[in-house]
């Protein structure tokens, strides 16, 4: 499985599409909370889906610094590369 950042980003965006209305364009700078309306509970559930999608463990503690789609993709990339 590729651990390439751009591949992770595109898979993540595909995933986030399910959380947002069809007319929202998701780019790396998109803010998860303010633009995609992913509240704290949705974010917790999203983490479980990401863990399954990328077969990794994402500790909730690591979310403190995550605000944008890029931050999240970066975190996933970081965890995957460390494996």
């Amino acid at each position: 499985m590729s651990t390439d950042y751009s591949d992770i980003l595109s898979r993540l965006c595909f995933h986030l599409k399910q959380f947002s209305s069809p007319d929202v364009v998701i780019v790396p700078e998109t803010d998860l909370i303010n633009e995609l309306a992913i509240d704290s509970v949705k974010l917790l559930n999203l983490v479980m889906e990401i863990e399954d999608e990328f077969d990794i463990s994402v500790p909730l503690n690591a979310l403190a610094d995550v605000q944008t789609v890029h931050d999240l993709a970066n975190l996933i990339h970081h965890i995957k590369s460390a494996k």
Partner: protein, 395 residues
């Protein structure tokens, strides 16, 4: 945003959701008549949202024990368990809990919330992992945060999901604390304990089970899910609270691991708070005896629970998956939940309202808690009111 502006935003969000002039959170109780009835404003209400599962808050044995301790030892200990706050009653209650579970030792905490904080943060730390059920109580989440360990959630009561996450941890599963609840506070369902124990053994993890809502409710002598399933030896640490079936306030942990005792020296929520008052300890000791011998109370509690669950189910309300004293009505929107809650209150019935983000999966809950002290007639009355409200809620 300034610190105070943030609170103004909280107020605005609440105002948008809740009707003016209705104290949904923090209903002022003026007078308490019994374990099941009280006065709110000028009206008599039926409590159907307390956690008084065995109805022991007015048990004469508990009242008398509390009165005597109050006169003998004063209103408070004014000190930590670690300093001047370990009276003979505190130590006796610890022995009685250990004896009740036939465990090596027990520790008493000031609340159940602190018991979870103390145990989770005392067991796990930076570099360790806590693996928790997604529907865990706030005290479990907060204990995890306090611990500094990595927090991983699994899907509620889904053991395959739990195992998948343990597997991903590789060797780290050996420094993983798994946390589950005997009966879940949100939906009232029970943990699949046999499977959880099997998996935690296979991965050499440690298991903590919070029996907050199952103490006094499940098992022949009321130990909780560990007794109901005969799996006490598979659970490393059991926590629980005095604030539900024991009718007072406080928390406990019991274990067969002799290391439990070391928590007294490192666990901040144990050390940096005053110990429970003598009267609290005394009434809890009396209540624990009643709970242990409470076969008849449990029979009554389960009869009431099954009666109400079956009635609401037949009426078409969407309920939690398993009958029990916590009966959660799952509503699609906060507005619907609020309407049901208000309708019940207008008929003199007090239940708990749980709105997002506190409710799981973004739903809203109207949660009933049944007591052994309720009568079958009261359950009938509640059922009738739910029947009457159904039309307007689901129109």
């Amino acid at each position: 945003m300034s610190l105070l502006d943030k609170l103004d935003a909280v107020a605005a969000a609440r105002k948008a959701l809740l009707p003016e002039g209705l104290d949904v959170f923090g209903m002022p109780i003026e007078e308490v008549y019994s374990a099941t009835e009280a006065r709110v404003g000028d009206r008599r209400i039926l409590f159907l949202g307390t956690n008084n599962y065995l109805g022991l808050t007015f048990a004469p044995e508990c009242l008398q024990a509390a009165h005597e301790a109050l006169d003998r030892e004063g209103t408070g200990t004014t000190g930590s368990r670690m300093a001047n706050g370990s009276y003979s009653g505190h130590r006796a209650l610890e022995r009685e809990f250990a004896d009740f579970y036939q465990c090596h030792s027990g520790i008493v905490f000031t609340t159940g919330y602190q018991a979870n904080l103390a145990m989770i943060s005392g067991l796990a730390g930076a570099g360790d992992v806590v693996l928790i059920d997604g529907d865990s109580h706030a005290s479990i989440y907060d204990g995890c945060r306090l611990s500094g360990a990595e927090i991983i959630r699994f899907r509620h009561n889904d053991v395959a999901d739990m195992e998948k996450r343990l597997r991903r941890l590789g060797e780290r599963s050996q420094s993983t604390l798994i946390v589950a609840e005997g009966i879940y506070s949100m939906l009232g369902d029970q943990a699949p304990l046999a499977e959880i124990v099997r998996i935690k053994n296979a991965y050499n993890s440690i298991l903590l089970l919070d029996e907050a809502h199952s103490l006094g409710v499940l098992g022949k002598t009321g130990q909780g899910l560990v007794e109901e399933t005969g799996l006490i030896d598979g659970v490393d640490f059991i926590t629980g609270t005095f604030s539900k079936s024991l009718g007072s306030i406080g928390g406990y942990c019991v274990s067969n691991h002799p290391q439990l005792d070391q928590l007294r020296y490192i666990s901040r929520p144990y050390i940096f708070t005053a110990s429970p008052s003598p009267a609290t300890i005394a009434s809890t000791r009396a209540a624990l005896k009643l709970l242990r011998d409470g076969t008849e109370l449990r029979r009554q509690l389960w009869q009431n629970s099954r009666q109400l669950y079956a009635r609401l189910d037949a009426l078409g309300y969407q309920l939690g998956p398993q009958p029990g004293p916590v009966i959660a009505n799952i509503l699609d929107s906060p507005q619907q939940a609020l309407m049901l809650w208000k309708g019940l209150l207008d008929h003199g019935i007090y239940v708990n309202l749980i709105l997002p983000p506190a409710a799981p999966e973004g739903k809203a809950l109207v949660r009933c808690s049944v007591s052994a002290a309720h009568t079958s007639e009261q359950m009938d009355y509640v059922g009738n009111v739910f029947a009457e409200l159904r039309e307007s809620i689901f129109q």
